[in-house]
């Protein structure tokens, strides 16, 4: 699904190398987790893959189902099936959540040569999906993320994911700022979307999210590289011993 080879990335504005050669291969239908201390480059990886400005790729490649992501605009990457659930979902005053969702869904359908969803069909689908995420009608009407609590924002991200049905979902610290109940709700939303054709890359500091979204493979990232990969037990090791032991071991 997603092939990352030797990816090197620096900040555009300053001479600072963030990613120093990341290799990652994600098979269809699998859930990968990336853990790592602050400043290891986890969020940068998610931003670079989704096309945010401000980064310069200085080496390596990232392919989504064989297509070069770095040849595509952010909206093209989305239409190709990439989705980033933001660590800090953006508030957009003046744009209704529903309008936003429908604009996004129909824009992607258009690129794929599919017909736009009718207002009625769209509404039906949104309501059903919103209900399972405990997103009420009021949240759908309000401007995008404006006045939403931390938990509501993250649930709204998952709702977008559910509506857009991407193939490759990147979750950037989706657990940050969530209490246990909110995290369970978000995890359930993600688990409901797990399928053979869909892959996940879950970026997190903590093991606790991975209790709810069980990964197939766990990677440890440090100083711009993936330094260790393993099964779910690797996350437990981090939880119990912290990163220090692992980092010392690979140094």
């Amino acid at each position: 699904m997603l092939e990352i080879k030797g990816l090197k990335v620096k900040l555009e504005e300053e001479d600072k190398q963030i990613l120093k050669g990341v290799d990652l291969s994600i098979e269809p239908g699998t859930v990968h987790a990336i853990m790592g201390p602050n400043g290891s480059g986890k969020s940068t990886l998610s931003y670079v893959l989704s096309g945010k400005d401000g980064y310069e790729v200085t080496g390596g490649a990232a392919m989504l189902e064989g297509a070069d992501l770095f040849d595509m605009e952010p909206e093209e990457r989305a239409a190709a099936g990439l989705f980033l659930a933001f660590q800090y979902p953006v508030e957009i005053p003046g744009v209704g959540n529903m309008t936003f969702l429908r604009t996004a869904v129909n824009a992607q359908r258009k690129v794929r040569g599919e017909e736009e969803l009718s207002a009625g069909d769209f509404l039906k689908e949104v309501r059903a999906k919103a209900k399972s995420l405990k997103i009420d009608a009021d949240m759908l009407k309000r401007p995008v993320n404006v006045g939403f609590s931390g938990g509501e924002k993250k649930r709204n991200e998952i709702l977008q994911m559910a509506m857009l049905e991407p193939k490759m979902c990147i979750l950037d610290e989706t657990d940050s700022g969530l209490d246990v109940d909110a995290m369970k709700l978000v995890a359930e939303g993600v688990n409901a979307l797990r399928s053979e054709g869909r892959s996940f890359l879950v970026i997190t500091h903590y093991q606790r999210l991975l209790d709810h979204i069980q990964p197939d493979i766990v990677h440890i990232m440090a100083e711009g590289r993936i330094v260790k990969s393993g099964g779910p037990e690797l996350a437990l090791e981090v939880e119990n011993n912290g990163y220090a032991d692992i980092l010392a071991e690979v140094a």
């Binding site: 096309g51 605009e73 952010p74 989305a78 003046g94 824009a107």
Partner: protein, 428 residues
């Protein structure tokens, strides 16, 4: 103080061939008074403080600069709204194209008829609010309008007519120089909605005097444009009595020069006055100026000014807005916001917000900002698959939303929003 020679020259050049319409004695007197005001103040020049950001030369020159007739490919605005149509072609009332000037709770006369009638309610309003509005800031172009206006309608509202009144302006002559003066008198407890739409003339001067009596309600929605080459100066002078509501919204598309002045005086307690505007302009030849002056002279009144401008490719936007709270106008709630969205580095927004407060128990706030499109929001939308230009247009509409929200009737808002979407799509 003697007027500067430039001012005298400008004024006399404009008045040399000006023809003052004649009618009943009171009308002639009102026009003569206005003419005296013009000569006493002198027409504005770029050196005037109040015209620092907008060059009035093309508004004061004797011969109106020509403006190409704009081919309207979108049809008339509000065509599906059941409304009383009053049509002006190049500033001349067109009876055949208009509906009958009658309606439940309405008395409507053509201005010329009213001013040729010895006893008419218009006598108490024509030029009266304009003259009151000359202090503390002089508005000589308004006095010029009162002196020279050749057409217009006078409307007295005694009930709550179900239909809005729509002034429909049509521009057909490249050299038309239209001067319209309209009156609206809202009697106690009466309510009316006035719509103004369409390109009016190559050069257009419109003055609207609105007197809202106790408990009355005046609702005004105006759309200017999309003619590119017009020059327009509009004035709205309103007096707002106790428990009355005055709301005015203007959407402006294009225009070489548009200056909209709104001068409101709140004279009765518990009244509400809202004035809002949104404009979109593309190119160096776009210049739009909103100049607002709201005087609070009563207790427990609310005023709002909400102005938003979208400027691209070197367009210029101006906002001069003032709230004056007199000594006894306690419990005043005044709000003013003026914002511009600059879509490139060549466009400019010039803002002069002013507060002058003499009462000690008031809540007044004002703010003014200039900014570019929020890159974070733009990326967020694009990351969801919305193409760059669509995302930018969506954010632009969201920027304008606060001003559009000032319109009470959602159906009108929707139609204006559609026109805005069209404009943004064409100017992407």
């Amino acid at each position: 103080m003697a007027l500067a020679q430039l001012k005298i020259d400008t004024t006399e050049a404009r008045l040399a061939d000006a023809r003052v319409p004649q009618g009943a004695a009171w009308g002639n007197a009102a026009r003569a008074d206005a003419m005296a005001r013009v000569r006493q103040m002198g027409l504005p020049t770029k050196r005037d403080e109040y015209w620092k950001y907008t060059d009035p030369a093309s508004l004061t020159v004797a011969d109106a600069p020509e403006a190409a007739v704009f081919e309207n490919d979108e049809g008339l605005l509000f065509a599906d709204v059941d409304r009383l149509r009053i049509v002006f072609v190049d500033g001349v009332f067109d009876a055949d194209a208009s509906d009958d000037l009658t309606g439940e709770g309405l008395e409507i006369d053509r201005l010329a008829i009213a001013m040729d009638t010895d006893i008419h309610w218009a006598k108490e309003l024509y030029g009266i609010l304009e003259a009151r509005g000359q202090t503390p800031v002089e508005r000589p172009l308004a006095a010029l309008n009162t002196a020279l206006a050749t057409d217009g309608v006078v409307i007295r509202v005694t009930g709550k007519p179900t239909k809005p009144i729509n002034f429909i302006y049509l521009h057909r002559d490249v050299a038309s120089d239209a001067v319209l003066h309209n009156l609206v008198k809202v009697e106690p407890g009466a309510e009316v909605t006035l719509l103004e739409t369409g390109p009016a003339a190559a050069r257009f001067s419109e003055l609207l005097e609105v007197d809202v009596a106790d408990g009355g309600k005046f609702n005004h929605v105006r759309a200017q444009g999309r003619d590119h080459e017009r020059r327009a100066v509009t004035h709205c002078f309103a007096k707002i009595a106790a428990n009355a509501v005055f709301k005015s919204f203007t959407l402006t598309f294009n225009g070489v020069l548009t200056r909209n002045e709104c001068v409101l005086e709140i004279v009765g307690d518990d009244a509400i006055a809202h004035v809002a505007g949104a404009c979109v302009g593309d190119g160096r030849d776009f210049h739009h100026d909103d100049t607002v002056f709201i005087t609070h002279d009563a207790v427990n009144c609310e005023s709002r000014q909400v102005f938003k401008k979208v400027l691209r490719n070197g367009a210029t936007g101006v906002f001069q807005g003032k709230i004056l709270v007199k000594k006894d106008a306690q419990k005043t709630d005044g709000y003013q916001i003026s914002q511009s969205l600059l879509l490139d580095e060549d466009s400019q927004f010039l803002a002069k917000p002013e507060l002058e407060i003499y009462a000690d128990d008031v809540a007044c706030s004002h703010g003014s900002t200039s900014g570019a499109i929020d890159e974070t929001a733009l990326f967020y939308l694009r990351s969801r698959g919305v193409p760059h230009d669509d995302a930018r247009n969506l954010l632009t509409l969201s920027f304008l939303a606060e001003a559009l929200d000032e319109i009470e009737d959602q159906n009108l808002t929707e139609e204006l929003r559609d026109r805005l979407e069209g404009w943004l799509a064409r100017h992407s």
